[in-house]
Symmetry: C2
Subunit: 697 residues, 2 copies
């Protein structure tokens, strides 16, 4: 059973701190509940009143006729802990703490929040808050408006989880006049116990919720979030606005709820990995939610535009190509049929511009023709107030049946006032989200198409099985892992590295070169010397015994100045790899996200334009290919200046194995393979330089 | 006098093709005029009617009591030319052709449009259209609603030039319920004669217009646009939505008005150069126009947020940093004063989150404190419907006087329904644009700040005088310009290039190297050999007579295989420039835009990530520095891996001179300096390789 079951479906509710005082939390919360037709018992608890809003008031929880299913604490912060303890001892398990004055204010507040956490643990409570606005459940069996907002939102199928309660109120108020309705609202507050992850789990199985929207300022447990969200996203869309993207926003988020810093650089990759649609603005969130909650997903990205006004059609076209959708190429029969019924001034290729003379009949006939074109997955239907004897109302009226029976996704745009001619109630009854601007509709459609691709990806990605490689042993070093051991570790995970030996003996190195019969690179290998290249202690292009001897002699002399007296020079001799495309793999262990893997284009690119992609480790080869597709320098991966293209499947496998290494070897805090050189003849990436650090506890 | 004077301020208007038929253009146009209180004479012209809508109707133009100040042609396309000719012969100069069926339909339409153009020339007409919706002028002295839209827009101070008439109608209809009002609307249609440039010139001097907005699908004369727009933009903002950005959108634009293709790659740079704010969406256009038409420009980018809800404040902070604005750092006295009046749970750093208990008094006291902080240029004022005993109406009421007297830019956000509590009429009476979402207000503010910076830039840029360099002579080649002559030309414009000689004589080359006492590069110089590097006909690092002799001998042998029998090898010997940051300058002559200059980071960057910036030539050094600032690889310009930073002033001067060369030498169709190498010791860029082509007519 989900932890929010009683909180969102309470059979009875006790309001600790219910009040008669105008403007008090205790009064507002009670009145909000009464504003909906809540069927359970309501028990105001307040020693100073006998009755509030016509309801009998109880002096304390022990006086209640029975143990309430949910208790809400509305007291000043300094009284919360005592009250919570009393409730817990009384045997109440499900509690909302609305009161503010905890973690978010610092100082004493932090201590009070710790005390709440301890009580949660001690009594095994389900606690929402503190510093939250409450909840809402518009399910017809529940009708519980348990929050202190003055707004009673439209019922519907969109759930909203908000780390800022007031933001939720704002959105629901703004949406009162729209076609968007809410199933569940949860104000998560400081998340001392119940987090967005618990709410997500509840919403996964809530039949009244078809779309989940979230406003987040922090993610406290990304690993769990990933597990839960990606499971949900395979069948229910999750749309998230994550604030605190930039430095400034991030300061604000921290001062607001004391949220823990989340490294921004990983966030985009993380949401993708979870299958969560990340949006940039509230409007985008809302516009997408409206489309998702009323229309089915498009089967593909091919989009047709039907319009009675040229400009809006062109603007929609522009936006379609920018948003990852594509302008459908109409079938020649479609074009022919359109040509037959439309005037010469009309445009019969996509966008179909019927011009201003279009009547409801024109709309209806054109829509019918487009509906039969298999090359069209979705339709953006644009209406500007027509100068001729028709109205949007008549137009949508004429289209009703067609739209009802149409398998394509249809998003209408009405660039006109919402007056009696608009036919708003028809759009509403048809469950069509009505947009004001073409860009809004296209953006929403693009979110749907992206989500459809996420769903497909989940299926494809699930088919890629990653076998654990881990043998029991961990690396038991502190600090940097020796070159040789790191090479062995890579080998265990099928990651190639350039052949090498580490030796102090000239003869051994000569033998090594002979056996390779290739140029070798010689580097000083003593740990004591750090800036090898700068000290001239790296020599390339050695391909015979004489050169090797000379190099060793010279390097020994130079190294002597840098080494302690009793230490002899040690050399790393490595096969010199021909130049090729340079790649980079990096990994680090983030305090919040855990193992993070990074892929980049090596050399100057990673430094100058930061051309990298991040994910939580492990990733499978399918996800790894998506990382490669995100890089900006695709030209390089596709073969450049005579280089062959990088085999993406092969490299993706290497990324997968690298991420697995990182995930399985928790002792590694940082690891870098830089560069890996793409070996065209062998069709694989070979690590040429590498370093890894084992965390010093 | 401006060409649109009579069209937008007609003393009388004749409607050729006025009609009694419901749904006809002729009826709709007349009724639209009557919908406003137009004071001039209206003359319907139609041989088949005596009277239309109570107005006397004339059989033809000769029957009119006097020559009309403006004539509007509303006839079917095939009757337009004849009617136009009759009007022109009658002496009418100012004409709107509303009729469609011209360039935009192809075939016969193109011929008809040509005929219009010829008549315009022959009779020296001022003609708007064809295929346009008409005009609107809400100036109290004019009140001319000369278009066939069913909408009567709110009067105000925003002008809208639209290449799509119907888009204009849609926008004005949507804005009916908002605080945005229009001064002038011009539907430019096919622009057979009057273009956006003429309209801009009119609007420059129209006192009723304070903001100019444009919807464009093409720019027909970019040079004139640049001249006019940059003059206007120094005192009146111009905001433009240019459609046809992407390949798809561009197809649509062409099929719609037969607009000429505009190369998209130059468009962003072009608008910047003009000082025109380019927006991506209609909503952005509108939201910016609302701010510009009601608030003064911010003096700086430092923005404070006052809010009663945390989330929206954080979202606004995020967006501020993303939009080129900055979160104001509040003065410590400000923070102290805020701390004194706000509860402990409130945040007193920016954003100032007064939390949900804030009343109108809280808003008023906080706003007063912020207003006194000199570190704040603008305020985003956010209101979520407060749960306490106040309303947005009370809040804005309490702030009225303060806002009235405040020199800071203030943009309010109301995340609540527009009901009687909202106080909409107060916001309106205060001329405050009211936004629904924090992102909208921030985006609008950022446009204002960007425009302020444009204005400052115009002043700074004007101070940079570029002296013409041109001597009389043009290059009189066809095709590629010889290396030597191109070097001379660069020298005339103060652009350095690597010292060189072209010679077939070994002795000369040896002397050249000796004099330089530096490494030289030897390249085969015969035109007949194209792929020099591939053929091994480029040799580097020659620094003594022996090496030069050997190289010449080897290259002569190799070249002999590639050269005709009677041709001796010719060599380009060039000083070998030490490696440094590689830059690129390019120029080309575009059929529409004319001379275009490009700056980029050389080598692999230009090829892999297309790190370039474009402008129309000439640019002055100030604009050139802006081009440098646009490049993505700033790290490289700032000095990288031991290189010194590029001196931006010095390089900007080179860009300026290069653009001047291109602008003055119209015979050059293409020119490339690639690479220029940054010479740290001399603090200048030196062209190492270059090529230029003179157009073959």
């Amino acid at each position: 059973m989900n932890r929010l079951n009683n909180i969102l479906n309470p059979a009875s509710v006790a309001l600790i701190g219910a009040s008669r005082k105008e403007g008090s939390l205790g009064k507002m919360f009670l009145e909000a509940i009464l504003r909906m037709d809540y069927k359970g018992d309501i028990f105001p608890v307040n020693p100073k009143a006998d009755e509030i809003n016509g309801l009998k008031c109880y002096p304390n929880i022990h006086a209640l006729p029975f143990k309430p299913s949910l208790s809400v604490i509305l007291l000043p912060s300094q009284l919360v802990i005592e009250s919570l303890k009393e409730l817990a001892e009384f045997g109440v398990k499900d509690i909302i703490v609305v009161s503010a004055g905890f973690k978010e204010v610092g100082g004493e507040g932090i201590k009070r929040e710790e005390a709440i956490k301890n009580l949660v643990k001690q009594y095994n409570l389900n606690l929402l808050g503190p510093n939250c606005m409450g909840v809402l459940n518009t399910s017809p069996n529940v009708l519980f408006n348990g929050n202190f907002s003055p707004v009673l939102p439209n019922p519907g199928h969109v759930a909203f989880i908000s780390q800022s309660g007031a933001l939720g109120v704002g959105i629901m108020e703004l949406m009162k006049e729209s076609d968007l309705g809410f199933s569940v609202f949860v104000s998560a507050g400081n998340k001392a116990d119940i987090s967005e992850n618990d709410v997500l789990e509840y919403l996964a199985q809530d039949v009244n919720t078809t779309v989940i929207t979230m406003y987040l300022e922090s993610i406290d447990d990304p690993k769990t979030f990933r597990k839960i969200a990606s499971k949900i996203a395979s069948h229910k869309p999750i749309i998230a606005l994550k604030a605190g993207r930039t430095a400034g926003g991030h300061n604000a988020a921290s001062s607001h709820t004391g949220a823990l810093a989340n490294p921004e650089f990983i966030m985009d990759g993380f949401f993708k990995q979870c299958g969560v649609l990340r949006v940039d603005t509230l409007q985008e969130l809302i516009n997408a939610a409206r489309a998702f909650s009323s229309q089915h997903l498009p089967a593909g990205g091919n989009t047709a535009i039907i319009t009675n006004a040229g400009g809006p059609g062109i603007i929609a076209s522009d936006y379609i190509e920018k948003s990852g959708l594509s302008l459908a190429k109409l079938h020649k029969n479609t074009v022919k049929k359109l040509r037959e019924i439309l005037p010469a001034e009309a445009a019969v290729t996509n966008p179909v511009d019927m011009i201003a003379s279009a009547t409801e009949e024109t709309y209806s006939r054109v829509a019918e023709i487009i509906a039969q074109d298999d090359g069209v997955d979705s339709v953006i239907l644009i209406m500007v107030k027509p100068p001729v004897q028709t109205t949007p109302r008549k137009i949508i009226g004429a289209l009703q049946e067609l739209i009802h029976n149409c398998s394509k996704t249809i998003l209408p745009v009405l660039m006109a006032a919402r007056d009696e001619d608009a036919g708003m109630e028809i759009f509403k009854s048809m469950n069509l989200p009505l947009y004001s601007y073409p860009e809004e509709a296209v953006q929403a459609l693009s979110a749907m198409w992206k989500y459809h691709q996420y769903q497909q990806r989940f299926r494809k990605s699930e088919a890629v099985v990653v076998k654990p490689k881990m043998k029991d042993e961990r690396l038991d070093y502190k600090g940097q892992v020796p070159f040789k051991d790191l090479n062995n570790l890579l080998k265990q995970y099928d990651i190639a590295s350039a052949p090498f030996i580490v030796s102090g003996k000239t003869e051994e190195i000569i033998r090594f070169q002979k056996k390779l019969s290739s140029d070798i690179v010689l580097k000083i290998a003593n740990e004591q010397i750090i800036h090898k290249t700068e000290a001239g202690l790296v020599i390339l292009g050695l391909n015979d015994a004489r050169k090797i001897k000379d190099a060793i002699a010279k390097m020994s002399e130079d190294a002597a100045l840098l080494l302690p007296k009793d230490i002899s020079p040690l050399f790393l001799a490595q096969k010199q790899i021909k130049k090729g495309i340079e790649l980079v793999l990096g990994g680090k262990r983030d305090p919040l996200f855990g193992a993070i893997v990074m892929v980049g284009i090596g050399g100057i690119f990673i430094e100058v334009i930061k051309d990298v992609s991040f994910r939580l480790a492990p990733v499978n080869a399918y996800e790894a290919k998506e990382m490669l597709a995100e890089l900006q320098s695709q030209v390089l991966l596709n073969g450049f200046r005579g280089n062959l293209a990088v085999d993406r499947d092969s490299f993706a496998y290497t990324i997968q194995q690298f991420s697995l290494l990182l995930a399985e070897h928790e002792e590694i805090s940082e690891i870098d393979l830089n560069p890996l050189i793409w070996i065209e003849e062998g069709n694989f990436a070979m690590a040429v330089d590498m370093r890894a650090t084992v965390k010093v506890e």
